[in-house]
C-alpha cells in the first residue's frame, strides 16, 4: 500500500499538551518536516523557550536545550559558535521573544548569528493565563489589560519582523500565518527558506508565525482563526521583509 501521508520523523511520538485549536501543533509539524526535507534533522540542535512551547524539547526528534525566559537566542549563539556545522534553531513565543528576550534576539540578528528563529505570535501570554504581551492589539482584552490595551498606557503593539528587518545581520525575515491550508503551505516555504539561510551560512533568519490562542482569547478554534484574520493580519501584514538573495 502506498503511504500518502505520515507523521514527520522530525517529531517524537509524545502527545503534545497544547490546548484544542492552538496552532503550535501545526507549526511544530512544519518545522519538523523542513528539518527532515533539508536532511539536517540528525544535525539539528533546537532551543526551547519559556511559555506555552516550553516542552517543545519533548516533541522535536532532535537534540534540544531548554533556555531561560527570552534567552534562547543567546543559548543558540553559544551552541552555534561551538558547533558551527550543526543546524541550530530557537522556537519562541511572543512573551519570550518580544518582551523579556528583545535584547537577545536583536543582538543575535545584529551579529548575523547563523541561527534560525521560529517566532510564534499569538498576541497574548498563553501559558501564564492570558496576560498582555507586547504584541497584544489595541483594544484587545487581557487579564492585565481588563478594559483592553490602550496606546496611552502601553504603547502600540511591537512589530518584531519590521524591526528586525532594519538590522543588516538579519538575512531572512518573513511573517506568515497558519490560519488556512494556503497560508500553511506558504509558512512551510518560509520556514524552509529560513533554514536554508542558515545552511548557506548567510546569517540570522526569523519567521514570525501568526498563531491563535482560543483558550485565552475566549473563542472557539474556528472563531479564533477568524479573529486572527480580521484583527491580527491587518496590523501584522504577511509577507517577506528580507531575503538573503537581495544581499548579493
Amino acid at each position: 500500500m502506498t503511504i500518502v501521508y505520515e507523521k514527520s520523523k522530525g517529531l517524537t511520538d509524545a502527545q503534545t499538551h497544547y490546548c484544542p485549536g492552538c496552532t503550535h501543533g501545526i507549526i511544530h509539524k512544519l518545522v519538523a518536516e523542513v528539518l527532515v526535507e533539508l536532511g539536517v534533522l540528525n544535525e539539528a540542535i533546537g532551543v526551547a523557550p519559556v511559555g506555552c512551547s516550553v516542552l517543545a524539547y519533548n516533541y522535536f526528534n532532535c537534540d534540544m536545550q531548554e533556555a531561560a525566559h527570552g534567552r534562547a537566542p543567546a543559548v543558540a549563539t553559544g551552541i552555534k559558535r561551538v558547533r558551527p556545522e550543526n543546524t541550530v534553531f530557537t522556537y519562541q513565543g511572543d512573551g519570550d521573544l518580544a518582551s523579556i528576550g528583545t535584547a537577545e534576539v536583536v543582538h543575535s540578528a545584529h551579529r548575523g548569528e547563523k541561527i534560525t528563529t521560529i517566532f510564534v505570535n499569538n498576541a497574548i501570554y498563553g501559558m501564564t493565563g492570558g496576560q498582555m504581551a507586547p504584541t497584544t492589539l489595541i483594544g484587545q482584552k487581557a487579564t492585565t489589560a481588563p478594559l483592553g490595551r490602550t496606546i496611552e498606557h502601553s504603547g502600540k503593539p511591537l512589530k518584531i519582523s519590521e524591526m528586525l528587518a532594519t538590522i543588516d545581520g538579519a538575512k531572512f525575515v518573513e511573517r506568515v500565518a497558519v490560519n488556512n491550508p494556503a497560508n500553511i503551505r506558504k509558512a512551510k516555504k518560509a520556514i524552509k527558506r529560513a533554514f536554508e539561510c542558515q545552511i548557506q551560512g548567510k546569517g540570522f533568519a526569523i519567521v514570525e508565525v501568526l498563531s491563535t490562542c482560543p483558550t485565552n482569547w475566549g473563542k472557539t478554534p474556528v472563531d479564533a482563526l477568524k479573529w486572527l484574520e480580521d484583527n491580527m493580519m491587518p496590523y501584522y501584514p504577511l509577507g517577506n521583509f528580507r531575503d538573503f538573495e537581495e544581499d548579493k
Partner: protein, 353 residues
C-alpha cells in the same frame, strides 16, 4: 616551565586556555576587562572563539549553550555583572552543566566602586540565583594559585557536572606576579554523552533541561544534586592552616586579605605571640572540620575580610560556639592594614572582656 611575569586577569585567561578552554563569552567590566581582552586575542590562535556578548545575561546564557554542547567554556565578570549572571548560573546548575565563572570582586552594593572587595561572599557561597543549588568556589590568594585553581576548576566542573566559581578580587586581577604554568593533571573523566551535539541518527535525542513539572521528579532531581553536593563537601575541601594547634589567637582570612593577615601574624610572632591561621581555599565547601583542630585554650578567632563580615557566619558555624569570634574588616575598596590586624590580635591575646 620557566616562570613568567603576568597580570592576574591575563594569567586567568592563559590558565583557562592551558586547561583546554576554547570558548569564552563575556562582557567588559572593571576590574576584570583585561581577561576578555586577552581571550579576544588568544582564543582564535587555538581555534577557539571569543565573543563579546551584549550583556552579562546573554554571556552566561551563551556559556550555558556552549557547555550544553559539550565543550570547556568560561565567562568572567565583576560584582554587578555577577549579579546579572545569577539567572544563567542557576539554570546551569539545574541542567548539570560544567562551566567556569570568574568573579573579580569590587565593592558594592549596586554600582559600588572599582576597588578590590570581598563583599560577594554570600552571593558566591549561598547561591544568588533561585533554587537549591551550590557552586564550588575557589578563592586563590596569589596569581600562581589563581592559575592553578582556574585549571583545577575545569576538571572539577567536568567531574561533578557543576558550575565552578573562581572568586578573585580587584587586587588579584590587577597585580602582576611571577607564575609558572604547570601541565594540566591527567584526570579520567566520563565522556559527555549527555551533550547536544546532533544525534547523527545514532542515538536518541539529548535534552539539556532544568524544568521538572512533576513535583516528585523535581524532588528526585534536587536530592540527586544534593547527594553530589555532599560528595563535594566530603572530597573537595581545600584549606591552608598554620600553627592552629597551639595558637592563642587564630585568624581566618581568604584570598588577598590572607596575605595581609600573614604579615600581621609575622609581626605578632616577632613579639612572641602564638598566632595561627585558617585560610579557606574553597569557600564552598567551607573547611568546617579544621576548626576542631584549634587549640582548645585559644583565646579567640579573628575573622578578617574586605566585607562587613559575611564569612563570620561560616566561621561561627564551624567553631560551634567553642571560642569567641572577633572581626576586623574594611569595605568599599578599603583594605585592612597589618597594623590594625596586629592590634586586634594583641587585644585578643591579652584577653578581651
Amino acid at each position: 616551565m620557566a616562570k613568567v611575569l603576568m597580570k592576574g586577569n591575563e594569567a586567568i585567561g592563559a590558565a583557562a586556555i592551558k586547561a583546554g578552554c576554547k570558548y569564552f563569552f563575556g562582557y567588559p567590566i572593571t576590574p576584570q576587562s583585561e581577561l576578555p581582552e586577552y581571550m579576544s586575542s588568544e582564543l582564535p590562535k587555538v581555534g577557539g572563539c571569543f565573543l563579546q556578548a551584549e550583556s552579562e545575561v546573554a554571556a552566561i546564557n551563551m556559556v550555558y549553550g556552549a557547555a550544553g554542547a559539550g565543550v570547556r567554556v568560561m565567562t568572567s565578570t565583576s560584582s554587578p555583572g555577577m549579579a546579572l549572571k545569577q539567572e544563567g548560573i542557576t539554570y546551569a546548575a539545574g541542567a548539570e552543566l560544567p562551566c567556569v565563572i570568574v568573579n573579580v570582586m569590587r565593592g558594592g552594593p549596586g554600582l559600588g566602586g572599582i576597588q578590590p572587595s570581598q563583599s560577594d561572599y554570600f552571593q558566591a557561597t549561598r547561591g544568588g540565583g533561585n533554587g537549591d543549588y551550590r557552586t564550588i568556589v575557589f578563592a586563590p590568594s596569589s596569581i600562581q594559585e589563581t592559575v592553578d585553581y582556574v585549571m583545577e576548576s575545569f576538571v572539577k566542573a567536568d567531574q561533578y557536572r557543576i558550575p565552578v566559581v573562581v572568586l578573585a578580587d580587584g587586587m588579584i586581577g590587577q597585580m602582576m606576579e611571577a607564575v609558572e604554568f604547570k601541565e594540566p593533571k591527567k584526570v579520567e573523566l566520563e565522556p559527555k554523552t549527555w551533550a547536544t551535539t546532533g544525534t547523527k541518527g545514532q542515538r536518541k535525542p539529548n535534552i539539556v533541561n532544568s524544568l521538572f513539572l512533576d513535583p516528585q521528579e523535581l524532588e528526585d532531581h534536587n536530592w540527586k544534586l544534593d547527594r553530589r553536593y555532599k560528595e563535594i563537601e566530603k572530597n573537595e575541601v581545600l584549606v591552608e592552616t598554620v600553627d592552629i594547634e597551639d595558637a592563642d589567637v587564630v585568624c581566618v582570612a581568604y584570598g588577598t586579605t590572607s596575605r595581609i593577615v600573614k604579615n600581621a601574624i609575622a609581626d605578632c610572632k616577632a613579639k612572641g605571640l602564638k598566632v595561627g591561621l585558617i585560610r579557606p581555599i574553597t569557600l564552598w565547601p567551607f573547611p568546617m572540620e579544621v576548626f576542631k583542630q584549634i587549640n582548645p585554650n585559644c583565646k579567640g578567632i579573628l575573622t578578617v575580610e574586605m566585607s562587613t563580615g559575611q564569612m563570620i557566619d561560616d566561621v561561627k558555624i564551624a567553631n560551634e560556639g567553642r571560642l569567641p569570634v572577633y572581626f576586623n574588616g574594611r569595605v568599599g575598596g578599603m583594605i585592612p592594614t597589618p597594623a590594625s590586624i596586629s592590634a586586634d590580635i594583641e587585644k585578643i591575646a591579652g584577653g578581651i572582656k
